[in-house]
């Protein structure tokens, strides 16, 4: 089990290195190699999740190791399936380091398998946890897109063309990337909150109890809702949406980790 996880991590590190090599050299051949390595990583990671599921006997989304590993997996799968539809040059160079970083965090978290606490023994666990984390996966991609946008915009505005101008895609492409990621990520996030709320009613008898994790998901949700609302009504775009995608993702990360370690609450056993 640990061996398989370590192998996956190593493949991701290799994929990241290959994507960075592609970024600096811009040789198509290297990109093909990088993509194949990432595919291998995704396959190995999927296998890893399945094995963990069988060993644990329940959905492997109940501690930090499992949740973050699934988080990384959803970025990888999201990125690979996104690739077919939208060509965003050098996106991989920004996404793979994030995946690898998450995998390292997961790697250094406790990998022990615990008996499931009674409150979590429910069919809602896979539904709620997986949609919520998948949503994070797409928000993470919007975050990477946002960083790329800001880098590219800075060079065009300042009229100083450095590392990024020729390598990154057009501002328009990066802005639509932001839009596409959010239009998948936001509904998933909404669904995550709704399923969580329904589950809470069943498990604890009330839909919402202002547990810190709930509060922070709501704050995150409101941030993204505001962003999408502004985009659709007044046509917010570009730098502002890029910054919002970065801020929103930071809030999402805080919801995932910060709340548990700083604020506690009923969700504490998760993570």
């Amino acid at each position: 089990m640990t061996l398989l996880f370590t192998l996956t991590l190593v493949i991701y590190v290799l994929a990241t290195a290959a994507y960075i090599a592609y970024f600096s050299s811009q040789k198509e051949k290297i990109r093909t190699v990088a993509r194949s390595i990432l595919f291998a990583g995704a396959a190995s990671h999927t296998l890893c999740l399945v094995v963990r599921f069988i060993l644990a006997g329940h959905t492997p989304l109940t501690n930090n190791h499992e949740a973050v590993s699934f988080f990384a997996w959803s970025i990888t799968v999201g990125f690979l399936s996104f690739r077919w539809r939208y060509q965003v040059k050098n996106f991989g160079t920004f996404v793979t380091p994030l995946i690898t970083a998450l995998m390292f965090i997961s790697f250094f978290s406790s990998q022990d398998i615990y008996e499931l606490p009674p409150a979590l023994k429910s069919g809602w666990l896979p539904v709620h946890a997986s949609t919520a984390i998948m949503a994070n996966g797409f928000l993470a991609m919007a975050f990477c897109g946002g960083i790329m946008y800001l880098l590219q915009e800075r060079e065009i505005k300042k009229k100083r063309f450095g590392l990024f101008y020729s390598r990154l895609p057009s501002l328009d492409a990066l802005d639509s990337l932001n839009h596409h990621c959010l239009s998948i990520g936001f509904p998933l996030m909404t669904l995550g909150i709704i399923t969580g709320s329904v589950w809470a009613k069943q498990a604890w008898g009330s839909y919402w109890q202002w547990d810190p994790k709930e509060t922070w998901s709501l704050i995150t949700w409101l941030l993204y809702a505001a962003l999408l609302h502004q985009r659709l009504t007044v046509g917010w775009r570009g730098r502002r949406t890029a910054i919002m995608a970065i801020v929103g993702f930071s809030a999402a990360l805080f919801t995932l980790w910060g709340v548990t370690s700083l604020l506690g609450g009923v969700h504490s056993y998760v993570g």
Binding site: Q152, I156, K157, K159, F161, Y165, S166, P169, S170, L171, D172, A173, V234, G235, W236, R237, G238, R239, R240
Partner: protein, 427 residues
């Protein structure tokens, strides 16, 4: 040496001023000069390239001095220059120099704007003309084809044509970095200067859907708009137009700013923040420099664009070094092919190939024939030898037969193709 028969004679922007080059123009097209050059005694093959920056004759000749002189006289027949004067403006490359020169011309290394792509099209045109009236033989045919593939190789392996080196093209490239695709984008020309026109032309070839022209005198605006199938508006409609266009190119002669930050700021909301690319090529400037501070607005003035061009030019010079290396590499490859086009090496290769086949087949058969007496084995070997020799006898005689130079090269080419005798990478 066969290579020494290949020559390039001509003038270009480096060796002759435009007053001289324009005297060398052949307004009736290339066919007539091609036929006349071909008729000059000693010219075996020829091709004629004429662009606004160069006039060149690429030819193959064994009889050299007189032929060169006659071709030069023909080129300068429209001018009143004496032989010595015309010689001063001309360059003559021979052999390996001629080959590299042609490769450099085809890939734009010899152009005024290094790496520009038009020259390749012009060279292909020249090739087609010469091919049509059959003034080229095997040598030039191969040489020109090779120069096309060298140009292609340089284009894919270096970034020589990658960056814009003219102001108008730099503007187009920036527009692409902002909008991605320029289809369905609208461009507004404010003022009708020449450079604005040029930039608009570039944008239209990149797919811009509509051109709107605003000018102080409406008449001039209408005239320019008609050129681009666009529409003309008055100058005071500027703010209104800014709601619909994506790119604005300003080049008025106005001493004051035409567009201020305060005027544009409220418009961005109406535009639903769609990006706006403002290009100010007027001096004094038309557009408020502070416009660049607004979100989703990108303002470039003439100096900014010049700066982009400067950076790109130095990039290109770096890439040109790589390209020169490819040129010398390919030149050596072509020389090797030329060597093969001599009779003796072709015969040697032919014999070597036949003998290799004979030996390989003999070995295969001998391994199967166990217990055959030594004497019989010898007989089989003799049989094989004489079949090979008799079969090759006639092709070799055919190659060795005397004929004129052109004829000989055709024969060599046919034999080499028929027996698939390859030399190195020259396909």
């Amino acid at each position: 040496m066969l290579a020494d028969t290949i020559m390039v004679l001509g003038v270009n922007h480096k060796t002759a001023p435009v007053e001289v080059r324009e005297k060398l123009a052949f307004p009736e097209g290339p066919k007539e000069p091609l036929q006349k050059i071909k008729a000059i005694s000693g010219t075996d093959e020829c091709c004629f390239l004429s662009t606004c920056n160069r006039v060149e004759v690429i030819f193959a000749s064994k009889a050299q001095e007189e032929t060169v002189r006659d071709i030069r006289r023909f080129l300068f027949s429209g001018s009143k220059l004496s032989d010595t004067e015309s010689e001063r403006y001309c360059y003559l490359h021979q052999g390996r120099d001629a080959i590299s020169h042609l490769f450099r011309v085809g890939s734009g290394l010899d152009s005024m704007v290094v790496g520009e792509p038009q020259i390749l099209g012009q060279l292909k045109e020249a090739y087609r003309d010469a091919d049509e009236i059959k003034t080229m033989g095997v040598l030039l045919n191969r040489l020109l084809h090779k120069s096309f593939s060298v140009a292609k190789r340089i284009r894919t392996e270096t970034n020589i044509g990658g960056n814009a080196v003219s102001i108008s093209y730099a503007a187009v490239q920036l527009a692409k970095k902002i909008f991605g695709d320029l289809k369905n984008k609208k461009v507004l020309l404010v003022g009708a200067g020449e450079m604005a026109e040029l930039a608009a032309e570039h944008l239209v070839t990149q797919g811009v859907s509509k051109v709107i022209v605003a000018n102080r005198t409406l008449e001039r605006a209408v005239k320019l708009a008609r050129r681009f199938n666009g529409s003309a508006v008055a100058l005071d409609e500027l703010a209104q137009q800014l709601q619909v266009v994506d790119i604005l190119i300003s080049s008025t002669g106005s001493p004051n700013l035409v567009l201020r930050k305060e005027e544009v700021k409220p418009l961005m909301r109406q535009r639903r923040n769609r990006p706006l690319f403002l290009i100010d090529i007027a001096v004094p400037r038309d557009l408020d420099p502070k416009l660049n501070d607004l979100d989703n607005i990108y303002l470039y003035d003439i100096d900014d664009l010049r700066h982009v061009v400067e950076i790109n030019k130095s990039e290109r010079d770096k890439e040109a070094v790589k390209a020169e290396r490819i040129v010398s590499e390919e030149m050596l490859g072509f020389l090797q092919w030329l060597e093969g086009m001599e009779v003796t090496p072709t015969i040697q290769e032919l014999l070597a190939k036949a003998n290799a086949i004979r030996e390989a087949e003999m070995k295969k058969t001998m391994n199967k024939l166990n217990g055959l007496p030594e004497k019989d084995k010898k007989s089989i070997e003799i049989l094989c030898n004489s079949i090979v020799n008799k079969l090759l006898h006639d092709p070799i005689l055919f190659l060795k037969a005397n004929g004129d130079a052109l004829d000989k090269q055709v024969k060599l080419d046919v034999v080499r193709k028929m027996f698939r005798l390859h030399r190195n990478s020259v396909e």
